[in-house]
Symmetry: C2
């Protein structure tokens, strides 16, 4: 599976975003993509190679009623990428599709249960306008949940700010502060290797700052 | 405010992502950024200019106890960018911080109410380890809500797939199918201009396909 950094590099290119948008409503073949986007076929080939390598796109060959078989591309799987940036926050996350336990989820969010039924029943719907209504109710629930998520993230930001102000009162320097924030954000436990990577410092340096913080009684090293 | 496309272009660059990560734990000055990332100052200046233009980063000048004043950069605001890609889905969204109505939110999600209290009380906490516990409980709730969101998105994918199969049964062609999907995903109403942009076709073409779909009794034009 592609990692977050690679995905950002891929999505940083506008043509690739347009290709993915095209494929998201159905498979396409190379010439079709090149023509619709008005980009040379050679460039499209290179973009497709990168998207395939990342596992975002699959290639298959389909015989044509006339002429030679065509190479088609399609989206391989559903991916969600999230990026957060704030004065005390930098986060990226790559999510898979839902694969959790429904029962547990419905216990926490009983309002979701109706959608399980609704979408199951909608398999028999043959009218687009009715499917559109089902989708609409999902859209509405989605907006509510997004707001709940925003709320929790807002609270997270507040706690991060509180951490910063405690660090300032304790007279911690910049690196010490960053390490404290990383540990708190990670839920209390981070390896020295992860810390070093995230702060872009050597692991030795991370270990020595950690022991200073331990001496000051701020953190515990496991 | 920066739009989604510009943000993707900005984040597509690894150095810029590293700069944002650095700034997310506190303001930095140019030389500091250049040295830590081992990138030339001229290149950093250009990155900073782009980040400033996008409104992600602010510049301020701070006097130094010795020597000339320094230009500092800091993160300007909290931004969340989401990107979805799937066989029947392409979505990007840019969110602001929570600015909704708490009462309404707590009615839908009573479990969030305790966090309002918890984070308010945590202002008086002076121990990092205790703040870390508060953060931990937020992390846990965040994971649950994310799962609920994943669930709804999964159901959305299923309804989109049902739309596709109805379209196939109705014998719709590719563009017709794409237009139906866009309209359903948007909750039933999309302007012809938006449709044209999203499908990368002319507005004339969008209008003519819409009238075909109307003649077939699949859609209504307003």
């Amino acid at each position: 599976m592609v990692d977050e950094d690679k995905l950002f590099n891929l999505l940083g290119n506008e043509t690739r975003r347009m290709i993915l948008r095209m494929l998201s409503s159905g498979p396409c073949y190379t010439t079709e993509i090149a023509e619709k986007l008005n980009v040379g076929q050679k460039a499209i080939n290179e973009h497709m190679r990168l998207l395939q390598e990342a596992g975002l796109v699959d290639l298959y060959v389909q015989k044509q009623s006339r002429g030679s078989p065509r190479k088609y591309f399609k989206i391989n799987k559903s991916v969600r990428l999230e990026f957060f940036i704030g004065p005390y926050r930098f986060d990226t996350s790559l999510a898979k599709l839902f694969d959790g336990d429904f029962k547990k989820l419905f216990l926490e969010f009983p309002q979701l249960k109706e959608f399980e039924e609704k979408v199951k029943k909608s398999r028999h719907i043959r009218e687009i306008s009715k499917l559109s209504l089902v989708f609409d109710s999902l859209n509405e629930e989605h907006a509510k949940i997004t707001q709940a998520k925003d709320y929790i993230e807002h609270k997270m930001d507040q706690v991060r700010q509180q951490c910063i102000s405690v660090c300032d009162q304790l007279g911690l320097d910049d690196t010490e502060k960053r390490i404290v924030l990383e540990i708190v954000s990670a839920g209390g436990v981070v390896s020295t290797k992860q810390l070093a990577e995230r702060l872009n410092i050597g692991e030795d340096r991370a270990i020595s700052v950690l022991s200073v913080l331990e001496d000051k009684g701020i953190l515990l090293t496991q």
